[in-house]
Amino acid sequence: MPKAKTNTEDYLRMYRQMVRIRAFEDNANQLYLSAKMPGLTHMYSGEEAVAVGICEALTDDDRITSTHRGHGHCVAKGAEFKEMFCELLGKAEGYCRGKGGSMHIADQSHGNLGANAIVGGSMGIATGSALRAKLQGSDDVTVCFFGDGATAQGLMYEVMNMAALWNLPVIYACENNGYSEYTKTEEIAAGSITARAEAFGIEAHQVDGQDVLAVNDLTQKLVARARKGEGPFFMELMTYRYHGHHVGDINREYYRSKDEEKDWKENRDPIIRLRSFLVSEGIATEDEIEAMNAEIEKDAAEAVAYAEAAAYPPVNEVDMHVYAD
């Protein structure tokens, strides 16, 4: 952990946001297990430091594109629990009026251009958002979240090439959680992932994705440089997903061991790590942290109850929003 203590409020907000993501996912998983949620969902638990470390370096004017494993990005970019749970349950008050669901939540008010259920599908969108910023003389930055699995898609190399040619303000954030769906990353990725970006002349960094302060520190520097026209940049964030590929992927010992999962959860958990830091540095007491955790759990439970009771969209909305006016 870096020793910087410049802004305790920032640290507390980062802790709070990570706990909010974990609480959201724990509740989403329960909704699935109790058969209250339509469809499946992909849990972000374990990767919280990546979304929070990056999004805390951004403003609402900065854009992100998210993935099928996108609840963490959505919360970190500023979304509210109620609208998110409503969307997960297909309710009218969801961010997308129930039309997108878990894999397509978009929250334009905070610059979240949406989760994408095509692996690597948003790389063009993120790079195009950055092209628009450059063409219109705007200083916003776009962060493109994607997993290690998406590095096998050709689109990534097409858009990184153009981003590098044109110095676009985009940051490619590769969340390497070690698994491409049900397959180990080492079985799908030849060579080095950062070297692929470097081949285009893109400055690439590998960072501990379980260390929110390290992620945030690096992102702040890269965002500031991208705003000045020094982009694009590439980050490979080494992280881990606690659940399976999706909530229904429960018996997964054929591709990874319980010992491995236990090791990451007990020894490298991003929330436990920041909590220890906050206490040891005297930024918060254990009691204050417990109170914060309890408040977040209560918020999440209330939002779930609200979403469960909320109305579905009226059936006449089924062919609404196919075309814009």
Binding site: G114, I118, G124, I125, G128, R132
Partner: protein, 331 residues
């Protein structure tokens, strides 16, 4: 009114819209100094600069995806896809991303972009540079599809497309780029979903798109000499489709042939014929006939290629049979 080529009409439409709205830009392969292989965009980079007429690497999914992102965040890109056949390369970005974003976001995000591309065989370009793939995109909700049949339509539809807040795919017939037509000096737009009755008639309706409008008009001239009065209708956009004009005509003539250069099976002709059967069944004196391109990859040899697409002669032959009450079996 002056006569200008379809190519000049497209060029004028783009220039006028780019002058009107600084958010409009062009992106694609060899669009700047080269002005595209068909020279449709010549001169635009000189006026608007390389920031608004952007040459890309040969990476269709990449620049298509970037156009989607630019459109979602406040720009109005016009994507130049050098050949319609390359649509297969950009299907995910066009159909999974651009077409669905507005709906999936519950109406919060919009994707105002234009995809300019082309269709048409008989240019001796073989199977990967000759297809007419409008049915593929017309099948996907969220996309609009325009098919100009002359310089006049090309300009008016392009200007409407650029101002539309949805992804619009425009198929230009690459054989028609040098064809001239009267185009007003003053500004005009052609609304989407308004068919154009090119020729009035009372015995049979020929519904034709893009390149096939000329084919239908030639057929109608021949039929007139034989005492058969053919009405020719150009839908101009197939999504949205002006069903009313088509139905009104068929209710009047009681016979119809639908002509489109895409493959006949599961194609544009099938869709329009079905709608006529469903909604004008009791007005019909004969089955609605489809005439699309043969269900074969487009062959290279001129001896083979020319027989794969509908011709005026074959339209005349089919129209005669329909009007004579002969039962027609689709080829």
């Amino acid at each position: 009114m002056r006569n200008i080529t379809l190519s000049q009409a497209v060029n004028e439409a783009l220039a006028e819209e780019m002058r009107r709205d600084p958010k409009v830009f062009i992106i694609g392969e060899d669009v700047a100094e080269a002005g595209t292989p068909f020279k449709v965009l010549s001169g635009l980079v000189e006026e608007f600069g390389t920031d608004r007429v952007i040459d890309t690497p040969i990476a269709e999914p990449g620049f298509m995806g970037m156009a989607v992102g630019a459109a979602m965040t406040g720009a109005r890109p016009v994507v130049d896809l050098m050949f319609g056949d390359f649509i297969f390369l950009i299907m995910d970005q066009l159909c999974n991303q651009a077409a669905k974003t507005h709906y999936m976001s519950g109406g919060k995000l919009t994707v105002p972009l234009v995809l300019r591309t082309n269709l048409g065989a008989t240019r001796r370009s073989a199977a990967q540079h000759s297809q007419s793939l409008q049915a593929l995109v017309a099948h996907i909700p969220g996309l609009k599809v325009a098919m100009p049949s002359s310089a006049y339509e090309a300009k008016g539809l392009m200007k409407t497309a650029i101002r539309d807040n949805n992804p619009v795919v425009i198929f230009e017939d690459k054989l028609m780029y040098q064809d001239k037509a009267p185009v007003p000096e003053e500004e005009y737009l052609i609304p989407f979903g308004e068919a154009n009755v090119k020729r009035e008639g009372s015995d049979i309706t020929l519904i034709a798109t893009s390149s096939m409008v000329q084919v239908a008009e030639k057929a109608a001239e021949t039929l007139a000499t034989e005492g058969i009065s053919a009405e020719v209708i150009d839908p101009r956009t197939i999504v949205p489709l002006d069903e009313k004009t088509l139905l009104d005509s068929v209710r009047k003539t009681s016979r119809a042939i639908v002509i489109d250069e895409g493959h006949q099976s599961y194609g544009v002709t099938a869709e329009i014929a079905s709608r006529l059967n469903e909604k004008a069944f009791y007005h019909l004196d004969a089955p609605v006939l489809r005439m699309g391109a043969m269900d074969v990859p487009v062959p290279f040899s001129p001896a083979l290629e020319d027989i794969t697409v509908p011709t005026p002669e074959r339209v005349v032959e089919n129209a005669r049979k329909l009007c004579a009450g002969e039962l027609i079996h689709a080829a």
